[in-house]
């Protein structure tokens, strides 16, 4: 995915200005930055949820030229998980929730085809949630719920996965699980773009995009020492980076 | 000579005494019990009267004391002579300030009126009368007589009875009674036998298809009317919309032979207000029925 001079405005205010980004295929790109930097807006623009000026292309094809359905097949979105379960009404079963991921592939009447059923079964088995398939979503624990939503994400069968703070409301064991799924997905050739505010998770990504007040601060590989410099500069020198085993960790200075 | 002047003094003295005594008697305060059971005391007949109920306005005028009215409610509209009087609101929005400004000797209203306590606290005398039936009106006329110092109630009541008799004569004397249905409201709400209209219908020997057990204004199942097959249907103009169009009603003889009496708004006022015009109400009904029955033979 590439963007050239991407800008997003809400009314007279510019949320993002003149971003030129290159997001590599089959890798995990993480977008980080301080609060209000515009990370979520950037992700939403990539998903086609916000109107933008400038160019945003996927494999050379301009986003705005794609039909809604085509775009839906190319990318899948995972929202930030909520810490409380749905208060109202959703006794949708796990199976039906995952089936929703097949919506971009279905016709007008949205009747599930056999291909849809096969796909749902496959993704549920992949995320180890097949045995839960008849339970209503609101009865699941946090970790189980995350697995089901991930299965829904996979059911879309897209190449690009966009995730907005996927680890924010999970406890550490579930975060570990989630990161393992992510590695799995990368191995299968998916492109991941996530917005994170936890720097130590972001540093596990392949590629980092740093935003500051709507402008690009730096983009580069996470192993590159220049990236680390830029990261420290982004947070005004208030952090320092340490290597812990295979991982880099950011600690307050 | 001396006995003559003595006698003269005696006669003058007795005359003076009798005069004084009669004045005292006539000037004695009268106490009348109103419908709340409260005895209201009048030093002398009230000269400035406010009436907050159309029936009471009409009754006061029927007793000849229209001139004493200084204020009426919004709905009083008969006789024409009172229509210029200040209107003091309806049931929910009585203009208390205005009433006080008019300085009435008494305010006539109904028992359930919400302003009684307020008027009392302002020192205004109230007299409550509930008129919901013919008997109520007769009683009210007598009490108003006592309050107003008139003696007209007997004459008024006789007049009413004469008018009702005339109305009766208008109707063809048939072996079987004429079955009627009076609809108050298209919900449909009907006038039962214990309502005021129902009483008038009974006075005219008309059979109300609504039995007595259902109360004064029951909300009736229209199917019941179809099954009861009234001979004449009575309604007001504003409710007359499309009665022939009601499902199944074309089978009722009253509808198929067009024996439907539609009363104007003015006539409706006479019909639903229990007041001194009930004789006129009987005449309105019987005239219409007689007309419909004879024209559709």
């Amino acid at each position: 995915m590439k963007t050239r001079q991407l800008s997003i405005y809400r009314g007279p205010c510019a949320i993002l200005t003149d971003l030129n980004l290159d997001i590599p295929q089959c890798q995990w790109t993480s977008i980080i930055g301080p609060n209000g930097a515009g990370k979520s807006s950037l992700l939403q623009a990539m998903a086609g949820l916000l109107t933008h000026t400038g160019s945003l292309t996927i494999n050379g094809v301009e986003l705005s030229t794609l039909t809604r359905k085509d775009l839906a097949k190319k990318l899948a979105w995972l929202d930030q998980g909520s810490s409380n379960s749905e208060e109202f009404g959703d006794s949708l079963s796990v199976y039906d929730t995952v089936m929703l991921g097949r919506l971009p592939h279905q016709g007008c009447l949205h009747l599930p085809s056999s291909a849809d059923h096969i796909s749902v079964k496959k993704t549920l088995q992949q995320t180890d949630a097949w045995r839960l398939r008849h339970r209503p979503l609101q009865e699941l624990s946090g970790g189980e719920r995350q697995r089901v939503l991930l299965a829904r994400l996979l059911a879309v069968d897209s190449d690009i996965l966009l995730m907005d703070e996927p680890l924010a409301n999970l406890d550490p064991p579930h975060q570990a699980d989630f990161l393992k799924w992510q590695e799995n997905l990368l191995a299968r050739g998916k492109t991941l773009v996530t917005v994170l505010h936890e720097i130590h998770f972001a540093l596990r990504a392949d590629h980092l995009i740093m935003l500051d007040k709507g402008k690009l601060h730096f983009q580069g590989s996470s192993q590159d020492p220049r990236t680390h410099q830029a990261l420290i500069a982004l947070f005004d020198g208030r952090i320092r980076l340490e290597k812990l085993g295979n991982d880099w960790v950011a600690l307050p200075n | 000579m001396r006995s003559m002047s003595h006698a003269r003094y005696l006669i003058v003295g007795v005359a003076l005494f009798l005069l004084g005594f009669s004045l005292a008697v006539f000037a004695a305060p009268i106490s009348i019990v109103d419908d709340r059971g409260i005895a209201v005391v009048f030093e002398k007949p009230p000269q400035r009267i406010v009436s907050l109920l159309p029936s009471l306005t009409e009754s006061v005028c029927a007793l000849g004391k229209c001139g004493a009215l200084v204020g009426i409610d919004r709905f009083s509209n008969w006789p024409k002579s009172i229509q210029g009087l200040p209107k003091l609101g309806g049931m929910g929005d009585v203009n208390i300030e205005r009433i006080v400004q008019l300085k009435p000797d008494v305010v006539l209203l109904e028992r359930a009126s919400p302003v009684i306590a307020r008027l009392h606290s302002l020192g205004i005398k109230t007299f409550a009368l509930d008129i919901k039936s013919m008997g109520d009106e007769e009683r009210a006329l007598k009490k108003l007589d006592a309050v107003l110092g008139t003696t007209e109630s007997g004459r008024v009541w006789n007049q009413i009875k004469i008018e009702i008799m005339r109305a009766n004569k208008l109707l063809p004397s048939r072996g079987e009674n004429i079955r009627v249905y009076f609809e108050v409201n298209p919900a449909p709400y009907a006038a039962g036998r214990t309502s005021f209209i129902g009483e008038i219908l009974s006075q005219l020997s008309l059979t109300n298809i609504i039995p007595e057990s259902l109360g004064p204004f029951p909300k009736i199942n229209p199917e019941f009317v179809v099954q009861a097959k009234p001979d004449v249907i009575l309604l007001t103009e504003s409710n007359a919309s499309d009665i022939q169009g009601r499902p199944g009603w074309s089978a009722i003889p009253a509808v198929s032979k067009n024996r439907i009496c539609v009363f104007t708004a003015d006539q409706n006022d006479v019909l639903v207000r229990p007041g001194p015009r009930m004789g006129e109400a009987a005449l309105i009904i019987s005239q219409c029925i007689q007309e419909k029955l004879s024209s559709s033979r």
Binding site: Q44, A47, G48, L49, R68, K69, L71, A72, K73, L75, A76, W77, L78, D79, S85, E87, F88, G89, S91, L92, S93, D96, L100, G101, L103, P104, L109, H110, H134, P136, L137, Q138, E139, L149, V156, L162 | V184, N185, P186, A187, P188, Y189, L214, K219, I220, N221, P222, E223, F224, V226, Q227, S238, N239, S241, G245, R246, P247, G248, A251, A265
Partner: protein
């Protein structure tokens, strides 16, 4: 396995509906008389059958509208009247009654029913206009409340100026199934099929909404257009029902809740069942209203409130509402 359950539940509801309609032809002003072979049999079928069918269809329209309202606004307290349709319909009826003396031919063609329908539509349009569109659910809800209050005040003013119309307006407010005729039944049948068909086609969008608006959009759904269509159906269904039976309380609110336990979560199923449930609720209430004190009739809105309310109370006490058990 799940599909079988759905079919059997659907059949169960349909059978119950048919039973109630049949009962409707037997019960009437003579109380619970099982004697159908009276001399006025045809008349009774001319009155009782359209009335029973009409009550069922009106309830079905309100149930469908209520289901849509609750799913669209994701709010268990939503009902079909919340976008100003109720106050609008009331104002429409009041206007027609008030200006009836003019004798305008347009007014006669429109009639009370047309007035209620147009009023309901105008109410919803006013809410949409005030909210500046259908994009924000919260804004739409709030503007619906504002419009309801404003139009409600206009109604009160009306009855103040013309107190003689008060009783007629009140009977409309409490709901009235007594004068239902075959043409009304035909109108409602057409409206019901139209609304139900369109709703069932686009209801997966409501399922997707439960995952969040961003997610639903990225799944390729034209959310804005679909929302507008759903609001349109809400207005149409409510308007048609209200035009025939007046403002029956509670059916639109209670019907989706009553069927939620058996509908299993999918919106397609939930909306069909809300529809049937609404019909069953209103028809049962109508049967009770005309039989309990025959030939007196209780206003049907009172019975729906009592019935629906009692059943909801029982449901609420049995299950913890919301949250995990």
């Amino acid at each position: 396995m799940q599909k079988n359950y759905f079919l059997s539940k659907l059949c169960g509801l349909l059978i119950l509906s048919v039973i109630l309609v049949v009962l409707g032809t037997l019960l009437g002003s003579t109380g619970a008389s099982w004697n159908v072979l009276g001399p006025d049999q045809t008349i009774v079928f001319d009155i009782r059958l359209p009335r029973s069918l009409g009550a069922y269809l009106a309830g079905a329209l309100l149930g469908l509208a209520g289901g849509i309202a609750q799913s669209l606004f994701r709010n268990p307290l939503a009902d079909p009247y919340l976008l100003g349709s109720a106050s609008g319909a009331l104002l429409g009826v009041g206007s027609i009654l008030c200006f009836a003396y003019l004798g305008n031919s347009w007014l006669e063609i429109i009639g009370l029913n047309g007035g209620a329908f147009l009023g309901a539509l105008i109410g919803v349009l006013a809410s949409l206009f005030l909210a500046g569109g259908y994009r924000s659910s919260l804004r739409l809800l709030l503007s619906g409340v504002v419009i309801s209050v404003i139009l409600g005040a206009a109604n009160s003013l009306f009855t103040f100026i013309r107190p003689d119309l008060f009783q007629s307006i009140q009977s409309f407010m409490l709901g009235n199934t007594t004068l239902m005729h075959w043409s009304g039944v035909e109108l409602m049948t057409i409206a019901l099929f139209l609304c139900l068909a369109i709703t069932l086609i686009i209801s997966p969008a409501l399922d997707a909404l439960s995952l969040g608006e961003n997610t639903a959009r990225t799944l390729g759904l034209p959310l804005d257009q679909l929302r507008l269509v759903l609001i349109g159906i809400l207005a149409l269904a409510t308007g048609c029902a209200v035009a025939q039976t007046g403002l029956v309380a509670f059916v639109g609110l209670a019907a989706p809740h009553l069927v939620r336990k058996i509908s299993g979560g999918r919106q397609r199923v939930q909306l069909i069942f809300s529809c049937l449930g609404g019909g069953i609720l209103l028809l049962s209430s109508d049967l009770i209203a005309r039989t309990l004190f025959a030939p007196l009739e209780i206003p049907v809105g009172i019975v729906t409130a009592v019935l629906g309310g009692l059943y909801l109370l029982v449901l609420l006490r049995r299950t913890p509402f919301g949250g995990r058990s």
